[in-house]
Symmetry: C2
Subunit: 330 residues, 2 copies
DNA sequence: CTGAAAGCGCTAACAG
DNA sequence: CTGTTAGCGCTTTCAG
């Protein structure tokens, strides 16, 4: 591997000059720049990134923590971040937190040890105070989680509005007895989607029976169980707002097993619009969560703030309705 | 950030000694080791990885190239690699190749520029000669693609056997007129799965009509179109072997649109067992592709070869049948 | 078993 | 616009 020294010798300039042309910025004559570039070319020179990092105190790498590397939710998030970083020639180092406090923390420390220049976090367990402290050590960018003091660094979805719109859509289709199946209530999004449901119901002057609200968890099984609970309670709800698609799938499956036809006897609306929503039968009506786009926004913010020291702003997306086949007009 | 210097001063030893205790290996008195560790603890010392890399010529990072960061196939692959690397405290740097030659190459170069210690590749477009050349620059580990000269560094699935088993399963269920929808034939797995189909047919003494073989592409749309082609040809096949699940989904959808009942009028078997296979209706019978496990194997091999200089061996997995609801006994 | 010293390859003042 | 000169923080001979 040729070093900067060899390049400088071949080009007949100092190492500093070579460094300058590499980093674009500085004032270098076009002539010398050409000479240096030719030399680099000829030697097949590639900068040693460890040396660059050590000298510049910057690694050109951004760390990202997600709960899981697989699954329809985190995949698009990583893809969005990678696309943006890659274009900017920044490396993406990934670690997963498995949705557990200890492991999320470990993932973060692991990445900080590597001196990443910024940290894009999609975490659920780390509390706000800790996030703030973290941000003192390395610029932190949050996706799908907001912390007031860090709001400029946040990209989030208006979940409350999503819950509202979903419920409202059901109401507009003539439903009045609407059940709500929530995710784990310590998760911001679960909480907010539920609030949106409440607002829509209240605004429409519909009662909210606590029996209609099933606190469950964001998984297929969570939806499945919730449906069975609902059945046991013998409520004649005509529609269910499931706080995410996986739960909606569980509900669909359970309904099928109980010979409840969707959407004829029961309407179901989900949330997230994961790509599978299009594969199930009937196809799931749901709220779109623009994961890829949001991830891109967050990554762009990270680049701007970290490498260009530009001020950045909070980015908020709105969930939109995706009409498919699981909601029927009453 | 405290440096090794400060630690050494506090502990009253040389930097070399601190370095030794950090890297475990060397002979250090228990007493001094304790002193050093205490000092590290007290200072909250964390080694600067860039400095380590520069001095040791090793980055403790492994690069991974996948086609996409999203999707049911690559997700588990990344998850498997990350789990293994993380446990070994090695960083995972990810880049996507988007299944295009130029971009795959760019992804690889991008990672090599960072001096990753090894490269785990899940690529399709880079040819064998290039892979070999690459391996001179950095240890390369291949998943789902075999190159004879690199076979010890390879983890792959016996796709031919999978195609054989899938087809055989259909035959055992009384099917004789079996169509095969392949993926892009320049992909090794598409090629091999197709060969497996042929072997099973021949072995059973069944004719293979070229009209029954549709060369398509590994996507939903590919399956959808293939089904329509099959319809146009007015063949009365009773079963279809789809070379991957996404295509099988497309076939299911197309069949539904044409009022062909699965499995009553048509049996379908897929390949990969992506997690969605369990969500569609009817649930897809398919061949299991142990992506997560294979990724783990590959990562373990990478660790062994790169960091422990241990000899490694090729790892081959066998696809197994997952019986669900899309194949019926004739 | 431990210390001294020489870099690893690059960047970043500071001069000129 | 370009060169000189110090390091960045760590590993690794080589002595002792």
């Amino acid at each position: 591997m040729p070093t900067i020294k060899e390049v400088s010798e071949l080009a007949g300039v100092s190492q500093a000059t070579v460094s300058r042309v590499m980093n674009g910025s500085d004032r270098v004559t076009d002539a010398t720049r050409k000479r240096v570039e030719a030399a680099m070319q000829r030697l097949g020179y590639r900068p040693n990134s460890a040396a660059q990092s050590l000298a510049s105190n910057r690694t050109n790498a951004i760390g990202m923590v997600v709960s899981e590397l697989q699954g329809p939710f985190y995949g698009p998030m990583m893809a969005g971040v990678e696309d943006v970083l890659r274009r900017a020639r920044k490396h993406l180092i990934i670690a997963s937190g498995h949705g557990e406090e200890e492991r999320e923390r470990d993932a973060i420390e692991f990445l900080i040890n590597r001196q990443v220049d910024g940290l894009i976090l999609l975490v659920e367990r780390i509390d706000d105070a800790e996030l703030l402290r973290l941000n003192e050590r390395v610029p932190v960018f949050l996706i799908n989680h907001h912390v007031t003091q860090l709001h400029q660094r946040t990209t989030w979805l208006n979940n409350e509005l999503g819950g509202y719109r979903a419920t409202r859509y059901l109401i507009e289709h003539g439903h009045q007895r609407i059940a709500c199946v929530t995710g784990q209530m310590w998760k911001q999004d679960a909480q907010e989607r539920y609030q949106g449901y409440r607002r829509a119901m209240q605004e429409a002057g519909l009662p909210i029976d606590d029996d209609w609200v099933i606190h469950s968890f964001f998984e297929f099984e969570g939806g499945y169980q919730a449906f069975e609970t609902l059945q046991q309670r013998k409520l004649d709800c005509t529609a269910i707002f499931a706080s995410n698609d996986e739960m909606a799938f569980g509900i669909l499956e359970a309904a099928d097993n109980h010979n409840v036809a969707v959407p004829d006897q029961l309407s179901v609306i989900g949330f997230d619009n994961i790509y599978t929503a299009n594969y199930v039968k009937p196809k799931l009506t749901t709220m779109n969560f623009p994961m890829y786009e949001m991830a891109r926004s967050s990554a762009e913010n990270a680049l701007a703030a970290v490498y260009q020291k530009r001020p950045i702003q909070e980015v908020v997306y709105e969930p939109t309705l995706v009409e498919r086949q699981t909601v029927r007009q009453l």
